[in-house]
Subunit: 368 residues, 2 copies
């Protein structure tokens, strides 16, 4: 039986192989007599799961050794507070607003630190990422916050800014929740990166933080201990009970990623090429269509989240109902922006995108 | 094949039936074409899972309608900060220390509020729960924090204090993480109760908070939005992406609990009787033994976590190795107190406790 194609923005499609392995190991992981959910986080079995997940994450993203990789409870909205609690040092923070997520982060940070709006595309409906050359940076910011993929507005940063060359002394903090592990990261430009797991990694309730060691240890006194990067780092993410099952599923996803191949490439190179192929196919179709439209500046379009609108919005319900009949699930856009959205994360196959395009064509033809 | 018996203190043993259902539904929940991990938290499928879990939790514990039940990210150590951030109103908080967990909560709360040590059994190695008649209550506390089951020291509160009758105007806040759903709760005495899921409910990374509505809405300004009870309550736990898969597993566990029967009793009554039976069997054996000892005051002994020591500690390694050979896993005590610990949560059968006692006897005999 073929499963339907699931275009949810998150929690989102998982590789079928990961789910099959998880199901098979549910009652007994590797002959231990325990399922992973039932293991003490301090036992040798879970420690090995954790260490492999961390190693595979580092390998895939080529994380330099001066960065710590932390596995935390929570999600992106939690990190909106946790990042300034850990990294602002009570000083100023620069923000670039390119969609709903960076806007939320900006509002939350203001509870803990002075914020400077360096740039925003809100007036234009978040249809582009403000060019780095236009950013009005503060002289005293401890970091600049950038959401490198806006899940709702479909805006992606395809080239990280080099803050040093822009005359800034601040660190770059990226929220890469919705495109983590979909492409390489230039760590020379980054001080800290964080990602909720529920788009490209695993179940909701896990957050991965990659932070350069010299930035750890300056949390505000009011930072909850469970979210203090220093305490978590010193305890190798076992300061409290981490979300063990989510880490296990993340580990299986990372193993799956390492095995991917595409046109002679392997691992993250393969998945990046495949993601580019998928996005190019879909944008190309949307751009020539008479019925559908994507409003994002072509140079800033997301490879992961592709919002689009039917020119006649009265057709939305019929479109979604027909999509479901064609095995294409969860295409409804976020309630704040309406329309449709196809989230095509790592686990979405090229075939899934082909099927979507076939349906888009068929629906357009039937209405013309 | 019989699975070994798993005495881990948490993450801990799960009902086999729950794991089997989760495995069977991993790729396709109820014909939806999606696994639960892959569902949008705002879709009708997950909403139904969430609503059923909340309803079953309320039914089992007879939660009155003036209380909200919130499903949050995180765990107990997170709540140590989140509770005072939400409920202290910047005033004073009373603490009763009866083990490692209440001590941790006490230290963390001091970051956000003035704390009053109402009573402590630390001098006596946390071997009892200080009697309510001895508590030195503050006149101005907004709440009193009590850990009603100390997982490490094996101390349980078997009768909730009635703060009103003690002349206090403060609310009772209980950390019932490690005995939640193992027994009934007298909600007339409680303002707020919280529990990390990983002992008696489901996977680590989920916390359930039961809080009386009139206490919600007075969080300190510095409370992270993702952990503000008011925001979470107003959004029916969907303010951010909740740990969806953990909520699903919790829901399966709650369904399992409702079906339990024991000597004509059903649901929580059945499980409470079974838990009492299991604990009585084990304590009775330990108390008559020449080799093993439990140091907790008999009236304050936990039904869930039973720490014990071998009088000759040199035998510890042989004891643990033999236990494993007998299919009895994770009996090692917490590193801070040493010795052994049998955690016999809801999912541990009477047969598991019988097998443990058989092994205790056999080991004792072989060493005498």
């Amino acid at each position: 039986m073929t499963r339907p194609f699931n275009f949810s923005a998150g929690p989102a499609i998982m590789p079928e192989e990961v789910l099959r392995t998880a199901a098979a190991e549910m009652l007994d992981w590797h002959g231990s007599g325990m399922g992973v959910m039932e293991m003490s986080h301090r036992g040798s079995e879970f420690i090995s799961i954790y260490e492999n997940a961390e190693k595979d994450f580092r390998d895939l993203l080529s994380v330099p050794k001066e960065f710590k990789v932390l596995f935390l409870q929570g999600g992106g909205i939690g990190e909106n507070a946790i990042v300034p609690l850990n990294l602002s040092r009570g000083g100023e923070v620069d923000f670039v607003l390119s969609g709903s997520w960076s806007k939320k982060s900006y509002k939350e940070a203001a509870k803990y630190t002075k914020t400077n709006l360096a740039a925003s595309s809100e007036q234009e409906g978040f249809t582009y990422l403000p060019a780095a050359s236009t950013w009005q940076l503060s002289n005293s910011a401890s970091y600049l916050h950038l959401c490198t993929n806006e899940t709702i507005h479909g805006v992606e940063c395809h080239r990280l800014p080099d803050l040093k060359s822009m005359g800034s002394k601040s660190e770059l903090v990226i929220d890469f929740s919705s495109h983590v592990l979909s492409r390489k990261v230039d760590w020379t430009k980054v001080g800290c990166a964080f990602a909720g797991a529920q788009k490209n990694i695993g179940p909701a309730g896990l957050t991965i933080v990659v932070v350069r060691e010299d930035l750890i240890g300056q949390a505000l006194d009011i930072c909850p201990s469970a979210f203090n990067y220093k305490l978590i780092s010193d305890a190798d993410s076992m300061y409290n009970t981490p979300p063990t099952y989510a880490i296990y599923i993340a580990g299986l996803t990372l193993q799956w990623l390492k095995k991917q191949e595409e046109q002679g490439l392997k691992g993250l190179d393969a998945i990046e090429l495949r993601n580019k192929t998928k996005a190019d196919l879909l944008y190309k179709y949307l751009d020539q269509s008479e019925l559908y439209t994507n409003k994002v500046n072509p140079g800033d379009r997301s490879r992961m989240n592709i919002p689009f609108y039917l020119k006649d919005e009265a057709l939305n319900a019929a479109f979604l109902s027909g999509a479901k009949d064609h095995g294409l699930l969860q295409l409804k856009g976020h309630k704040s922006v309406g329309g449709m959205r196809a989230s095509i994360y790592n686990a979405m196959s090229i075939k899934g995108v082909h099927n979507l395009i076939e349906y888009l064509k068929e629906f357009e033809k039937s209405r013309s």
